[in-house]
Each structure stands twice: as structure tokens, then as C-alpha cells.
């Protein structure tokens, strides 16, 4: 076990616009996350939780501060290096699913493997296995339009975990789903964390969903307000 945490943010700020219209979304964030953790990031809209998530996912860059991922300094990386980091270590789930339209579930799940350069045979096998893990083995040839919201999110989960990423980043994964489906999706995400040791970072504003996490970080107005472990104290 290395002394360095998996993820270490220190003094992260993010400013949008300039001059009069300048808006500081993050006002100095310091977070460390150990491998295998399941972290819920909570807060009202505009609290900076999504911005933090995007920076953690290397989809966006901080204005200042340091972001170390597995000891590597992300803020010094080039666009391509960050893309490779996403390709090899991160998996994403979005509130709006973000599947390729008119593309079958199987092809959607295959996509990250294609960018990894996996040969066709192992790619198909892995994609089928991932769809089976999310319970959609019967639906592999359906396109997103033919699937329910919950099923689409399952495809998205399969796409995120098919590469066995170190970190699964979920941005409001249940935001577009009903309560029952939300619970199923959360069970699924928790299973990947528990059984495959995938670190999960999840943004949500629903306490019910945050209850699945081991650790809850609350954001208010661009700063971390509280950082608690579930079960230790409420």
C-alpha cells in the first residue's frame, strides 16, 4: 500500500468568465480519496459539486491548484495524456446516459475497448460479459431508443466498467430515473465497488442515494462543508 492516496486534490479553484462576469465556482478544494472507497459528493446546484466531478474526471481543467492521480500531476498533462488517463483508468456514468444514438447496446459497450485497441474477439466477449453483469444480455442488439431509462443507464454502466477502470465517476446517475429503478442502479454501482474494488465517485443531491456510499462530502458555495463516513456518525 502506497502512502500516496489514489486521488489528491489540493487548493483547486475554478473560475468561469472574466472581469465583471467572473464567477468563482470552486474556492479552494482539498480532498484525498483512497482506492476502493465509495464517495458521494452532495450539494445544491451551483455548489461546485459537478465542477469538482468534471475536474476529477479530467473532462475539465482547474484554474489553479494541484490534482494528483496515482501520483501523477494531472494539471501538467497535455490533452492527449488526459485522454489516455481517462481511457485506461476512468469510467463515466452521466445523468443523461450519453449513449451513442442509433447504436446497439453491444456497440456502445464495445466503444472504449475499440479505443484501447482490443482485438475484435476479446472485445465482443468482454462487452457481452459486461452487459450480462448489468442484466442486459437479452438486449445487446437494441438501440438506446428501444430501451427504458433504467436499461440505458445499465448500458452506460456496462460501458463504464467494461475496461475495469480504477475509478467510476457517476454524475447524478439516478437523476433521470424513478425511485425503484434508482435503487436498482445504486445496487449495481455498489456491487462493482464491493466486489471488484472499483473506486466510485458519485455526485448526487438525493440523501437516499448518498446512503449507498461509504463517505459523503458536502459542498456549499464552492467549498467543502463536511466530509463524513457513513455509519461512523450521521
Amino acid at each position: 500500500m502506497s502512502s500516496e492516496p489514489l486521488i489528491h486534490l489540493s487548493g483547486i479553484t475554478k473560475t468561469y468568465g472574466s472581469g465583471q462576469a467572473e464567477f468563482q465556482a470552486l474556492k479552494g478544494i482539498d480532498i484525498s480519496i483512497e482506492a476502493g472507497d465509495f464517495v458521494a459528493i452532495m450539494g445544491h446546484s451551483g455548489s461546485g459539486k459537478s465542477t469538482t466531478m468534471n475536474i476529477l474526471g479530467c473532462l475539465d481543467t482547474p484554474t489553479s491548484g494541484s490534482y494528483r492521480f496515482m501520483g501523477a500531476q494531472v494539471e501538467r498533462m497535455s490533452r492527449n495524456q488526459r485522454a489516455l488517463l481517462r481511457r485506461h483508468f476512468l469510467g463515466f456514468i452521466f445523468q443523461g446516459f450519453n449513449l451513442l444514438s442509433r447504436t446497439t447496446a453491444l456497440e456502445n459497450v464495445e466503444l472504449p475497448l475499440i479505443y484501447r485497441g482490443e482485438p475484435a474477439a476479446s472485445r465482443h466477449g468482454a462487452a457481452r460479459a459486461a452487459l450480462k453483469q448489468v442484466g442486459l444480455q437479452e438486449w445487446e442488439h437494441h438501440t438506446p431508443a428501444e430501451l427504458s431509462g433504467g436499461q440505458q443507464q445499465r448500458v452506460a454502466i456496462a460501458r463504464a466498467i467494461v475496461t475495469r477502470p480504477a475509478v467510476l465517476l457517476a454524475d447524478e446517475p439516478t437523476g433521470n430515473l424513478d425511485t425503484r429503478t434508482s435503487e436498482e442502479i445504486m445496487e449495481l454501482i455498489a456491487t462493482f465497488n464491493r466486489e471488484h474494488g472499483i473506486t466510485v465517485l458519485m455526485v448526487t443531491h438525493e440523501p437516499d442515494m448518498a446512503a449507498y456510499a461509504k463517505r459523503v462530502i458536502s459542498f456549499v458555495d464552492g467549498k467543502v462543508e463536511s466530509d463524513t463516513r457513513n455509519g461512523e456518525e450521521a
Binding site: L84, H88, R102, P112, Y115, R116
Partner: protein, 400 residues
Amino acid sequence: MLWNTLLLAMRAIRRNVMRSFLTVLGIVIGVAAVITMVTLGNGATKSVSDQISSMGSNMLIVTPGQRFGPGSEAAPRFKSPDVEAIRNQINAVERVAPMVNKTATAVYQANNWSTVINGSSNDYFQAGNWELAGGRAFSEVEEGAGKAVCVIGETVRNKLFGRQNPVGSEIRIKQFSCEVVGLLKAKGQSAMGQDQDDVVVMPLRTVQRRLTGSQDINRLTISVKDGASIDAVKNQLTLLMRERRNIGENEEDDFRVMDTRQIAETLTSTTKILTMLLGAVAAVSLLVGGIGIMNIMLVSVTERTREIGIRLAIGALEREVLLQFLIEAVVLSSLGGLVGITLATGASIVLARLMGVPYIFDIGINLLSFIFSAAIGVIFGFFPARRAAGLNPIDALRHE
């Protein structure tokens, strides 16, 4: 990487059947229109110059008046002594065919047909490259005495006699009847689009006496002996005619001498202008096709931007995304170009046959329109993608 990107590009094309189809269609229409138009224009030019060269390159045509059309009537016509003078005084002249013409209705039994009556001599047939399909030309006696005999063209035969052999029959023209002694071999359309076979030929004197009622000759067709200089003959001819027509030193010619080369140049330059015009019209359709492609690409840019965002988020490199879009654009454009060329080739061959012009494959215009349309496809398919791929992944994902 290339192989995988190719796979992704093919999937994207297959997935967006309608968009791909419309893109290809835009290119197909543009390419096919330009190639067909220009190919047909080239064919028409070729057929005109072929017909002119079939007239022979050693001919001169002399007409009264300095120009064609209105106003030329003012100049005095030629007379038979002019024909004799040219024959006797210019050595390099082989034949001189005088010509006078008049429109009249020819009648045979219940059929009648309005046609052109040409009065000339047997030289007419040689100078005009005519061959006889049946019967004979005029005899010297018939020419000298202005007998009522005629040689008819294929169209006239067809209208009056149907499939029957006309030789030996009598047709009636105005108040006199006229024996058909010969039938001309069909020639088809002239370079000007006239039906050359719609003609009745009679001895010059017959037409002058019975139809025009004057000694006038409208035109002289002169063939020059092989090896003689056309320009020299032209100069001699001009001097002779000026002298015979009493034209003073400072006055302009009141007649015009043209050689077939000149006619050829005039006509081919006309058809070339027409070809360019057709090409320009077709180029507009290429442009419209290009704008169509541009619209399709711009309409789909939101969807494509989000798609690019998804690809970037799951770890695609910017250059992989760009390469995929480039391959898509190149594949669709090339496909459209190839289909367009195939379609144009088929259409050109069919239309050229219908129009009676030769089909000439022009590699230049095929390449040019292919490259132009491919460029449109690539530019409008690729550049919106380039902008999107340069965004932060999160901005591309959130694109509305």
C-alpha cells in the same frame, strides 16, 4: 489505430443512413450534372467539326452582301457569266456550283410537302459531297435546256413516296410537273441542325425560269484543286469579283468569300460557348449540392458535437476523433463521386445517342468535378468536427 478508426467511421455511416444518403445524393447530383453537360457539349462540338470536315477543307463559298441576314439583299446577285468567268480565269478552281433556292410545295398524288428547291448544276453534287442512292444526275441537255427534272432528298422521298422508289415518277411543283430522275443518299442533320435531306435539286436554268423568274444566282460553291493554296484562290477570286462588280478602290466588297475553315471556326466556337454555358449551369447544381451537404452537416452538428464529447470522455484522442470524421467524409464523398461518374457516363451515352452526337469520355472534367465535390464533402464534414473535437470534453458533452 487506423483499422479501428475505419471501423468506427463505417459504423457511423451505417448508423446515420439518412444523413449519409443525403450527403452522397448531393454529391451525386452535382457530379453527374456537370459531367453529363460537359460531355454532351463536347460531343456536339465534335459532331459539328466532323460535319464541317466532311464538307471538305478545300471549299470556298461566295455570297452577295457583306454579311448574312437582313441587308444582304441590297447587294446585286451573281449571274451565269460570273460562274463562267471564275471557271475560266482562275486556274486553281476545280468546280463552281451556282445556286439559287426557293421554297415551294411539292405534290405527289395526295401527298404534299413544303421544301427547298435548289437550282444548280451537276457540280452541286460533287461540291456538296452528295452521293446518289438511286437514279442519275442531270444530263447536259437537261441543264442547258432547263428541263423539268429533279433529284430529291431522302426526307422529300419519305414524305411524298413513303418507301416507294421515286425514280421515274412525276411530282408537281407549283404549276409544272417535274420528273424525278435521282434520289440523294441521306446525310442527316447539318452542323446548324437543319435537315439536309429536305431538298429538291433541279437544273439552275429550270429554277430560274419557272420559279424565281430571274437570272439571279444566290450563292457560289467553289472547290479548289488539290494542292492549290486556298488563300491564293480567295485573293484571286476577290479581285475578280471586285472587277466584275465594278467596285472602286476605296469601296468595300459587296460580297463575301468564306472558306470552310472559317466556317468551322465560327461554328465550333459557338458550340464551345454553349458547352461552357451548359457547364456553368451544371456547376450551379454542383454548388447547390454542396450547400445541401453543408446544411445536413450543420444541422447534425449538435448531435455530432455531443457524440464527440462522449468519445472524448471515454478516452478517444482528439486526432482519433478527427481521423474518424475525415474518413467518414472521404468515404461518403468518394462514394458520391463514383456513383455520380457512373450515372453521368450512363446518361451521357444514352443522351448522346438520342441527340446523335458522339460520346467522348473527358477525363479532365471527371476528375475536376470529383475533386470539387469531394472537397465540399470533406470541408463540410470535417471542419465542424474539428471545432468540436477541440472543445473541452465537458463542453462538447453539454452542447445544446
